[in-house]
Subunit: 214 residues, 4 copies
């Protein structure tokens, strides 16, 4: 019965794996090893936006992977719409390296560049958050979740997820004050969702689709 | 008994994962972040063919993944020929980013460019559709599908699949009228196959290889 | 009990997936879409070595994947040495795109280029064949295969595998006659191993690790 | 019960697969096939740092994969912290191609380049070793390992793992004597951990999470 969901996870993991490593591959291309005629320490130091883009991509895509993992472990059946919603989640996740790269490249640019790249980045994250929310909503509505899942937990997970796009919009608004501060707000948000919430918000303390209490 | 098919799925998912993310990686290379000396908003706007190629690739490869998933969930055994047919499906799928990139780059080119790139694109999609059809035909003929699968459903799936290459050829013919219209026809087709057909055409409402009714 | 082998397969499939798609990604880079100021049809035609390298890579890596799949479905336990041997198989497989690219780029070069690139290519394939042979030999010797596997089948598989490096050396020797002929010999060999041998050479007609007769 | 751990493995394998193949993809870009106007044998010979970086990356990432495999086969449950620790392991693993590339490119550079790149490389490997150690420590402390795992084995594994960062620091110190010697020391270390330890240090001779003695 869990078979369909298993393949969706494998497929999504393929996309996540590439997204997580793409920026590290980019380092090879833009790295100082390819730039002759300069001092290595200086060249390495100047490549800091690439390192930052790598860490941002890793943090955000890693956090989304954990969220994806937490959701899909409760899904025991899939339908066509759930697959389409999952594809749309992946569509936005796969653009994280691009927008994170633009964001870090333009952190010290003019206000137009800063706001435009921050808007693109927040657009990516909002799109991802929207379709993750819809995935959960659809799976609950269509009875695709594990029958033993406590409905109160399912609601609590939905509430916590719904909060995420709002918090990202707040982090985006901060770009009009200071772009670095806005980036810090993004990363704080990631850390907040990585740590997990108290009590009923932790999916792990509840019966998963294998029927065992963790 | 489902083990062989499981590995074919994992392997195919690896290819699908790279195909889906390749165009997003390309954005990093051709993106305005690498092009100095221009205004960022203008540079980002001019990169629209790359975004279009990304969305086309994602839509078509995502739809093919769902079709692949729907077929392989009924396959309980594999033989050498089924593996070869699956490799040929992947051979065409892996060229989707290349042909989608050419297509979107030449949408505003001369009629020769438009027709040539549309022909290449439709060739990729036809090749994929042909071998997906052969996969299903071979699996049915050799008794590699789940024994509980209703033969009427198997036939209905085959009928719907056979329609696909024909519809793609119609979409291709439209390029002689207008290339943008032809592209829209492609995307409409993808949407049509994403939504799924009525009643018996939906594989999900029937017993899958785990023997459970969805 | 099959769990260890399952993860080795997933991991190897990740490498195979990238190898199969790498040349298609390269098409994006070397493709005519990036070369301005030339006629598209001519530019596309001139890129034929890239298409050839893609097809060669796909054929050879696809064939090796099927061989890998056929071997590992009989493996029920792993030890450290089997993991190391599998890593060495992957080390050579991952260089197939590089050597196939060199080979196809130099098919119309001078005799030095032709022989050097053919030698590199055959070196890659020999290395892969050597370690695939050692994998099977080690798994048989250490009793890591499924206990129900017929020893005669295991020996027949080993015999057929041992033949492969010898046939590749013959195909390499042909490069001194004609490089195109040598390439054709390589591809014939791939086709020969894709089709599979008669009777007892077909792993699929025998009990696999799940204990079911195919 | 093993389900959660299974998906962590699939996801990590996606990252490992890309890391192992990235340097082979790089060969395609920096390879002599792209450099016109030179003799092919000479051009191929001059690209030796790329080959070295490929082999270093493969050796180190392959060894880490085996270690990851050995650890995770004992993990039967996951919690949020274990997922975060695993993400941090992957964060460092994904940078191995970049640091290995820098290291091999600067092996014949000045002492500043040699020491800087060796320091970056050892930083990557230390980060990976640190979080692998923390993964094991956390899993033991929180009771996430298989209940039948002998506590003495778990301790022995932890002891052997703790040794690794220390040995890497020694290998790094050698760079002040000779950079080539330091690199040899790294590779010897990898070989040491690939071969495995005596008796109780071999995870494979003990009951794994499927409950079967290997």
């Amino acid at each position: 019965m869990a078979r369909d969901a298993a393949r969706v996870e494998t497929f999504s993991d393929g996309v996540f794996g590439v997204v997580l490593t793409v920026m590290a591959v980019e380092l090879l291309q833009t790295g100082p090893a390819r730039v002759g005629g300069r001092e290595l320490p200086e060249a390495l130091a100047d490549a800091w936006p690439s390192y930052l883009a790598y860490v941002i991509t890793f943090a955000i895509a890693g956090q989304v992977w954990i969220a994806h993992h937490n959701i899909w472990r409760y899904v025991v059946r899939v339908d066509q719409m759930l697959l389409v919603l999952n594809l749309l989640v992946l569509l936005f996740i796969a653009t994280i390296p691009f927008t994170a790269d633009l964001l870090s490249d333009n952190l010290r640019g003019g206000p137009t560049e800063q706001r435009l790249t921050a808007a693109l980045y927040v657009g990516t994250v909002l799109g991802e958050a929207l379709f993750v929310n819809l995935t959960w909503w659809w799976a609950r509505r269509r009875g695709l979740l594990h029958p033993d899942l406590d409905p109160r937990l399912a609601r609590a997970v939905a509430r916590r997820m719904r909060l995420k796009p709002l918090l990202y919009l707040v982090a985006f608004a901060v770009v009009f004050v200071d772009p670095i501060l806005s980036l810090c707000a993004y990363l704080l948000l990631v850390a907040f969702y990585l740590i997990g919430g108290p009590g009923d918000l932790r999916p792990y303390a509840h019966p998963a689709k294998d029927g065992s209490a963790a």
